[in-house]
């Protein structure tokens, strides 16, 4: 196993065929392909952490749990709230920081704070010829040359093998609370979430569970911050949202944390049979997509990001993308029993061609996770 960036470069340079890059091995997402395993978990460790500068640099194979623990010791966190895919995908292994970046993994707070890619300050990686490259750095504002940092986030190892990443971190909130609206249909729920997200109260999560925890739909608005501010904002939100239905405040820390962890990791679909898709749409289109899916495929759905992220569990082999007809957005397969459809959608002929050409430049031999993204 490679244990340094240099060895990683040599391993790629001397590869004779396709390689399957493995961080923690927790996320078998994407199209299936053959390739020799290239584990990067040997590249591990936090190389720099400056709490006063909100900056963390870590080697790509560093376990996410190690990073979380270190950040928590200084009262900080990864603000984009990366989800843990293991329950949903039925996988084992230890999520790594490189895997998180390669898949641009975010969670409920993405709607307010931004995605993983928004907090990614710099990358070091090995391209398909074995060259060690860097882009960006460790500072928060950097427009020096092209932003390959964003390009690498969410490229699933198809442009290069990450060896080190720098991230902006943020303070953990002192306290949090959920404002809950009970019994709303999907359309009303998204309207309520839009009202909350369009309020001055700095909402850090807005999700809707049509089945709730006990069969009754629940719409969830999260507030985080200093205790007094959260209490004040919760009261103001209750006032703002009372026209939509019965509104309650949940502020027991364990309950709030569990509710949002469940939303983040889509626990409602854990262990259920069927295919799971992840759909990103304009938030107000979310309920329409949900309605179409239920009508056509008998789907189960849940909404995050104020309606903009639709998770759906459908019968195996269902084509979820037809539900987006006439709307914008995109759908990705997270888990499917058979490889009937490409996991990643087309971005249109021209952008697909551009993407293919970019891959051909970064990985001329086409050996890095070939075909994973299509």
């Amino acid at each position: 196993m490679v244990t340094s960036e240099k060895e990683l470069g040599e391993a790629v340079a001397s590869a004779s065929g396709p390689m399957r890059i493995i961080g923690g091995g927790t996320r078998p997402i994407g199209n299936a392909f053959e390739g020799e395993a290239l584990p990067v978990s040997g590249l591990s460790g936090v190389t720099l952490y400056e709490p006063g500068a909100l900056t963390l640099v870590a080697k790509a194979g560093t376990p996410l749990a190690e990073v979380d623990t270190l950040l928590a010791s200084e009262g900080q966190r990864l603000a984009f709230e990366p989800m843990d895919h293991r329950g949903l995908l039925g996988s084992a292994g230890e999520p790594t920081i490189g895997g998180m970046v390669a898949a641009n993994v975010s969670g409920p707070r993405r709607v307010q704070a931004g995605a993983c890619r928004d907090f990614l300050l710099g990358v070091r990686f090995v391209d398909g010829t074995g060259r060690v490259l860097k882009n960006g750095g460790r500072v928060m504002k950097n427009v020096t040359g092209y932003d390959l940092v964003k390009l690498m986030a969410g490229s699933f190892g198809t442009l290069g093998v990450l060896s080190e990443v720098s991230l902006k971190v943020l303070p953990m909130a002192e306290t949090q609370a959920s404002v809950l609206i009970h019994g709303l249909d999907d359309f009303s729920a998204v309207r309520a979430m839009s009202a909350a997200l369009g309020s001055p109260f700095d909402v850090t999560g807005a999700a809707h569970m049509p089945g709730g925890q006990d069969g009754e739909a629940v719409t969830m608005i999260r507030l985080e911050g200093f205790e007094g501010a959260v209490a004040y904002r919760a009261q103001r939100l209750v006032g703002l949202l009372s026209g939509f239905g019965e509104v309650t405040i949940e502020d027991a820390p364990d309950q709030v944390a569990a509710r949002w962890a469940g939303t983040r990791d889509v626990t409602a679909f854990h262990g259920a049979s069927g295919d799971v898709w992840r759909i990103s749409v304009k938030p107000s289109d979310g309920p329409e997509v949900g309605a179409r899916l239920r009508a056509a495929a008998g789907a189960e759905v849940q909404y995050d990001w104020g309606g903009g992220l639709v998770w759906t569990l459908v019968a195996p082999g269902s084509d979820v993308r037809t539900a987006l007809a006439g709307l914008g957005g995109h759908a990705r397969i997270e888990r499917a029993e058979t490889a009937k459809y490409p996991a990643f959608p087309s971005q249109g002929a021209v952008l697909d061609q551009m993407s293919a050409e970019l891959r051909a430049r970064f990985d001329p031999r086409g050996i890095l996770n070939p075909g994973l993204m299509g």
Partner: protein, 477 residues
């Protein structure tokens, strides 16, 4: 500063090129008169000037596409131009180029408060985006100091920042989608009202590419609800070390101010002489602003002041009203103008790790002595984005060159301590030749191949961002 030698073949075909452009654009949208093209000879980096071959001012994506298709066919370089406020020379023409100005692409296309975005044509000014939505209580967060004049097209090209980035991020964090025309005239839509890319994050790649990959004609921008209120506190210190440590402690304490601005003594004195904001005569001054409802602001400012007191401040002024806030900000907002009253100045924007602040300020002072040029420092302390203002006399032979050499030394210093050459202004022509100080040959090659994909003939803004020697073979091809 070197620019490519204009292609004589293109210069000799001016009449034919202009005729082709006139055939697809309204009469008033093509400027080829030698006097009129002068208006486009430079941007805000006024030290370098060169009138272009012609200027086009299209009003639609279709017109932009037609222009680019023609220039592509004829092999004419195109330099896109927003509002011409680039401090880095991003819109500096060459004599054989067509300037594609987006100033007439200024319409709001869609306002969607439920989904919290606005779609605009890219020539619209930054401040007028907020202007379009503020009646409903919303705003567009990135706020470069040129926001009254600068265009969204330029903001996207340079990935512009502003004073409030610490909380709200820069352009790339607030950009949801673009309509972009490729150099060969093809029109692409990237992103939209939804979040995140379906495949590779091409939107993230476009943002900050300095107009070298395509011409953005429309942009979907995230809008946010305005906070209930905002108020600053001003704190003065006798040392830069104390101010730097205070910034670090505030951030560590879990308070996330919306802005932390820093000014040093030379800048404070210049500002006082000019704007009379009543600032204390201290070594370092911080303006820290927080947002929220009144009680939330009081609480956060209380916490900040408590932390500041541990660093022996010589002055603490907490704003209790809109008038007091305005007074605190008055000096900071006048700082650039104040420096400009003293002499010509060059404004750099290298970024450093916040922890290196005292060291870098000391080194800048040493360089100032060495070169015999005064420097004032204003900067966004929360994110380490420096703004050293080097004073020089443009009418004094050799002064500009001296100033540029000193600026280059400061930027190398920023890179040396773990930072970068430019935090928000862009590379343009100004920092082009310093790129190898930050990146290796391979690192830069990885960027050059991106341009090869989007603009294989290297016709879009070709003389910017990269050292000319590194791109010569590509531009000549």
């Amino acid at each position: 500063m070197e620019m490519p030698v204009p292609d004589p073949a293109i210069l000799s075909q001016k009449a034919q090129i202009v005729a082709r452009l006139r055939a697809v654009l309204p009469k008033s949208a093509v400027i080829d008169d030698e006097i009129e093209t002068r208006a486009y000879e430079c941007d805000a980096l006024t030290a370098y000037r060169c009138p272009p071959l012609a200027v086009v001012l299209p009003t639609s994506t279709a017109e932009v596409s037609a222009v680019l298709e023609i220039c592509h066919q004829l092999g004419v370089p195109v330099v896109p131009r927003g509002a011409g406020t680039s401090l880095a020379g991003g819109a500096l023409p060459t004599a054989d180029c067509v300037i594609l100005g987006v100033a007439r692409l200024n319409q709001v296309l869609e306002m969607d408060y439920d989904n919290r975005f606005i779609r605009v044509q890219s020539g619209r000014t930054n401040l007028s985006v907020t202007g379009a939505v503020e009646e409903q209580g919303f705003f567009y967060a990135p706020d470069p100091s040129s926001q009254l004049a600068c265009a969204i097209a330029g903001n996207v090209a340079m990935n512009s920042g502003g004073a409030h980035c610490l909380k709200y991020g820069v352009t790339t964090n607030n950009l949801l989608g673009v309509t972009m025309v490729l150099m060969d005239g093809r029109v692409v839509e990237i992103g939209g009202a939804h979040l995140d890319a379906a495949g590779l994050d091409l939107l993230g790649l476009i943002c900050g590419s300095e107009g070298q990959l395509g011409v953005v004609t429309e942009a979907s921008l995230r809008i946010l609800r305005q906070p209930e209120g905002a108020r600053p506190v001003l704190v003065g210190f006798e040392t830069n070390e104390a101010a730097g440590a205070c910034v670090s402690d505030i951030i560590k304490a879990g308070v996330l101010p919306v802005a932390i601005e820093f000014m040093d003594r030379p800048c404070i004195r210049a500002t006082e002489a000019f704007a009379k904001a009543g600032y204390p005569d201290v070594e370092a001054l911080l303006i820290i602003e927080v947002e929220g409802a009144d009680a939330e602001i009081d609480f956060q400012l209380g916490k900040i002041i408590e932390i500041a007191r541990k660093h022996d401040p010589t002055e603490i002024r907490e704003s209790k009203s809109a008038e007091e806030s305005a007074r605190i900000w008055a000096g900071r907002k006048a700082a650039f103008g104040a420096m400009g009253q003293i002499n010509d100045y060059m404004c750099l924007d290298g970024t450093i790790p916040v922890s290196k602040l005292p060291f870098v300020l000391t080194r800048i002072r040493e360089l100032s002595g060495q070169y015999g040029l005064d420097v004032g420092n204003v900067f966004h302390a929360g994110d380490g984005n420096m703004h050293p203002l080097i004073l020089f006399d443009a009418n004094k032979p050799g002064d500009l060159e001296k100033c540029e050499a000193m600026g280059a030394d400061i930027l190398r210093l920023c890179v040396e301590v773990g930072g970068c050459l430019t935090g928000e202004h862009g590379v343009g022509v100004e920092k082009r030749d310093l790129m190898f100080d930050q990146y290796s040959v391979d690192d830069l090659e990885a960027q050059l191949v991106v341009k090869d994909v989007f603009d294989p003939d290297w016709l879009l803004n070709p003389a910017k961002v990269f050292p000319l020697a590194a791109t010569k073979s590509r531009r000549a091809a």
